[in-house]
Subunit: 378 residues, 2 copies
């Protein structure tokens, strides 16, 4: 059994175990109680596997601690501006407790290849800034009020401000990456930025559209999430001067991890506990997003249930109890199971890609991230 | 008398002549009549100097015809996407009859230096795309309904769509410029992008703020407009492998031309005729923008006039006849004259910068653009 296969097997087992937990919880109507327990407990993550994922994140954070601090300093420096609203708004976003997952991918990928230079820090910062700019614009587009448990910038400062500061952050990301003076890196990151925006537009055009397919949903996920994960890990390979095969391997790792990560995130929006996620569960439902759980549930809906989906998703007429009803349908039809199963397939591919790169503490930490993320608390 | 000094003298003469015309028209209350005459006439530009400016633009367009067609083809190609909304929305923006002023600056600057390669086309396209992305976001932020005589994308498609397609266009601009593989060019253009966004935020924070100074206004103009003009011309020098002095000269030309151009544009928003501008006169007033004419007029307002500016600009409570009243105050206090005079100073600097570059048909065409733009129909 290869290392990857072992990890995969572990992921499957953990997933199934975790998923059995949710099924049971939902079936018994325990969700609300569990949710309350979580909210009232100091050990909020003990109810699920979110803890394992956060431990894996913390592990990678501690392995890249010095680099990550340099990334944070670089980001802070780049957000300075005599126009005071810029550091204020950007600071709110950046200090809002993000996991720094994407920049860690770049740092870990570079370390995995024994990179000795200093450009990985700039590039990791650029990756996080591209992500940050996207979040600001996303929150405007989605009219979100809450992110990571805090009010969003568009609520505090306004939509106009978020749009323009987002543009500033995006431009600064490019300035930073240009400083690394590597044309292949620039190509990878600028291409990813275009793909992300294209994915965001595609997502917008499929919103409230009940005939959106799972294939279209996957295109959205690959573009809006996985493209940046892929570029983030690829960049670590590109600056390390490794073989084309190794560069492609880390890129494939990031790409497939990105899809898996987003699939789980979308499952959690229906099956997760708000307290442990730090975000508002049910946002996707309220926004009429055609994510995997809804795509599956709509496809399996009985004739008399279809008006429910038309009213809630297509017409956006959402009433008390609708989200719970949607969860029931999604649960009954195995839509969460299938979403997780699909995530697991992508996680497998991510782990398989790692067979072509050196095995060391960084490759293991990255693998562990994939394994635990597909088994997150649900 | 140097060539630049000659041109400057001509610019001053033309400006004064033209400005005498406006003063007269406004004083006699002829604006509405003249406006109607313009709208009903096939020779709409004959009433002013807009025609001379458009002739200078057309001249440069014809001198760079083949390149400009290649730029348009490149732009069209880069806006392709399987997500059909992207080429639709981008196509609307790009075909809406822009003058292609900024890409022409890059093309003419490269030609001026006898550039023989093909990268000027890609870079000119990138410059226009950065401009286009900015316009899309501007129109969302300003809630504009009309641009170049046509409905804006935010009105036709929506704000969300404009934000995300703007991001896509911006990312594609970066992809394009990366292909030119010149790190100094990338530095210039990515830096300009950050400066533009910073200028947009600064403009937003000064909006409706009656205490905004002329210095702050100039900072906004230098950032939101002149930075891209400067980068557009600088890039032509950078790719041509000329001396540092020549690169700096074309950059200074673009920078100062950009400020002059924006000052005149802002004057026209109070003194221009809608039909010849293809935009809604009075937009800046309705948006409470602290542009030069208002900054000057507010500073010179008599005590009993101050409540008018507070109500209209600061509170945004605009009633029938207010715009005409604002025009009267602005006219009476010489605020348009001073705005134009300031524009002329920047135009002088632009023309002086050209003393350090080869004199040929392209340098002359660029100079003519500056001269006629500061004498535009008002």
């Amino acid at each position: 059994m290869t290392a990857a296969a072992r990890l995969t097997a572990r992921a499957r087992a953990t997933n199934l175990q975790s998923f059995a937990g949710i099924r049971k919880g939902l079936a018994l109507g325990l969700a609300a109680t569990a949710n309350e327990a979580l909210a009232n407990s100091r050990t909020v993550h003990e109810a699920g596997r979110e803890r394992d994922f956060l431990t894996a994140v913390a592990n990678l954070q501690s392995m890249t601690k010095a680099d990550l601090e340099a990334v944070n300093a670089e980001i802070l420096k780049r957000m300075q501006s005599p126009v005071s609203m810029i550091p204020e708004l950007a600071g709110h976003l950046i200090n809002a407790g993000g996991k720094r997952l994407r920049p860690m991918l770049t740092l870990a990928s570079a370390r995995l290849f024994h990179y000795q230079g200093a450009d990985h820090v700039k590039l990791a910062a650029a990756v996080e800034l591209i992500h940050g700019a996207t979040l600001l614009h996303d929150d405007v587009v989605d009219q979100s009020a809450l992110r990571r448990g805090a009010s969003t910038a568009n609520i505090i400062w306004g939509n106009k401000e978020s749009v323009l500061v987002g543009d500033f952050i995006f431009a600064r990301a490019f300035e930073l990456m240009v400083e690394a003076k590597d044309l292949r890196v620039l190509k990878a990151l600028s291409h990813a930025s275009g793909v992300i925006a294209q994915g965001e537009v595609l997502q917008l055009t499929t919103q409230k559209n009940l005939s959106a397919t799972f294939e279209t949903y996957l295109q959205v996920v690959e573009a809006k999430t996985a493209a940046l994960f892929a570029a983030a890990t690829e960049v670590g390979g590109l600056i390390s001067g490794r073989t084309r095969e190794e560069e492609e391997a880390v890129r494939q790792f990031g790409l497939n991890f990105g899809v898996a990560y987003q699939l789980i995130d979308d499952a959690l929006d229906y099956a997760g506990f708000e307290a442990s996620l730090g975000k508002t569960v049910g946002d996707d439902f309220r926004e009429g997003k055609m994510t995997a759980p809804v795509v599956f549930a709509v496809a399996r809906a009985r004739e008399h249930e279809k008006p429910f989906w038309r009213r809630t998703i297509a017409d956006g007429d959402i009433r008390d109890g609708d989200f719970e009803q949607a969860r029931d349908y999604i649960e009954r039809d195995g839509a969460i199971e299938d979403t997780i199963s699909c995530a697991r397939d992508y996680a497998d591919k991510a782990l398989e890609a790692m067979a072509s790169v050196p095995e060391n503490e960084f490759s293991k930490a990255l693998e562990n991230l994939v394994v635990t993320s597909t088994a997150r608390a649900v």
